[in-house]
Amino acid sequence: MVGETMSATLQHIDIAAIREDFPILSQQVHGKTFVYLDSGASAQKPRQVIDAMSYVMEAQYANVHRGLHYMSEKTSDAYEVVRDKVAAFINAGSRDEIVFTRNATESINLVAYTYGRTVLKPGDAVAVSQMEHHANLVPWQMLRDAHGTELRIIKITDSGEIDFNSMEEVFADGKVKLLAITQMSNVLGSYTPVERLAKFAHERGAKILLDGSQAIVHRKVDVQAIDADFYVFSGHKLYGPTGIGVLYAKAELLEAMPPFLGGGDMIASVSYEKSTWAKPPHRFEAGTPAIIETIGLGAAIDYVQGIGFEAIAAHEQVLTEHALATLDNIEGLRIIGRAQDRGGVISFVMKDVHAHDIATLLDRQGIAVRAGQHCAEPLMGRLGVTSTARASFGVYTLPEEIDALAAGLQRIRKIFA
């Protein structure tokens, strides 16, 4: 099995070369080879991203949009080029549909504060699924409490897929005006059928916001083909730096939205009495942006596109199948989430062993996994667990690392036997 898997992997992707790009992967942890299976929380950074950021700071830095001097112009260009890159990356209709934020969380909150408090009216409903990350639940709760919108929850099936019967019910009375839903669960690894969800929402007069935090890393995203109204993701999960995220929204939606934060760069004119707003996307980017990080994100997108999503998806599929088969062989281990369409994020529980103990004991073997509620506390309730352990994969993950995980879990089983 492992031999087979590996050759399948190696057909698609030159993993050895990729791993060379990530300096951290050659670190040791507790004297053991470092096995990083926590990319779903945040991915490691390739040399190309680190270098791009260092280059800005060493050779081409100044504040953007404001200066009439060389360094400022060059830096503004380098910054704005990333907007084009992001637009092309997700096939936005226009670069002006790309707003830079800190992370996916801020992107969703931006929509909740602006679109949510103006276009959505008290009495309108926002629908989310049972498998949302807190980032796509709490902002809608806060909107409910501040603005009088309703919050409705779409059920998932036991296998971890969207329950379309529940969707019908939630949308039945026509009050749902926004469906805010993940494209890939950070707990179950399920992909959601985004085209179908968008069609479903649009046919019922609702807009759709997609949380692409997990999916963007694994799949080619085409916001126009999906017909997404809003799409959000974070740079740090896409092999880019922290401190930079993206909000995509259709131009006509952004046009109609009031600003979120007030300050420099988001205004057209300011007097003490009244200010007028710049056009999108600048209307939503107040103050000095994350210049260095945006340029780092550009390098990350180049990096990912250099590998290509066909190769990335094939590699992920091989890893996921290998991991599911291998983990299923471990006695007392139960994988949580069995969606048909699923990717390289795998949660599991072990009989008689708490997830935290699993994580700590794996860590001692150099293996990094997540354990806990994964910022999805209500989903834990739905699944009938208090926490899970989770292994998640990146472009640099090796089938052998999954074997190391399995061996580690077997050792843990013995301790608790």
Partner: protein, 134 residues
């Protein structure tokens, strides 16, 4: 692998705790919860003889710590318990065993796992809460 913390005493006490349960009658109750991981422990105190029972929903370290605590504090006064808690917290932070802690020293190894120290100390916060405000 270096698993010194997960020695038999800890694993054993977490799997077969001696003081687990929710007594029908008790004088004081305290709760400790770590929202970041979902761990929770309820502590029930019968003042007479300082009998402590616990209901633990959490990891091996927390459960073992709750159970070892219940054993260690039996019959002690609140002041003695407060002193014991301080010694215990020092030990789990520094890793230095302390003869006065007896069986509780089984948890000294948690010092190597910074993010897990809270698991070991959570039952003690719950007990303190019970004794303070019960």
């Amino acid at each position: 692998m270096n698993t010194s913390l997960y020695q038999n005493a800890v694993v054993e006490r977490s799997r077969h705790p001696r003081f687990a349960g929710h007594p029908a009658v008790f004088d004081l109750h305290g709760r400790g919860a770590n929202p970041l991981c979902g761990d929770a422990v309820d502590v029930f105190v019968t003042r007479e003889g300082m009998h402590v029972a616990h209901e633990s929903h959490g990891c091996a370290i927390m459960t073992a710590s709750a159970d070892l605590m219940a054993g260690a504090v039996a019959g002690k006064s609140p002041e003695e318990i407060a002193a014991l808690r301080r010694s215990f917290e020092t030990t789990v932070k520094t890793g230095r065993e302390n003869p006065e802690l007896g069986e509780l020293n089984a948890l000294a190894g948690v010092s190597e796992f910074a993010s897990r120290i809270r698991c070991a100390t959570l039952p003690w916060s719950a007990l303190a809460e019970a004794l303070d405000h019960g």
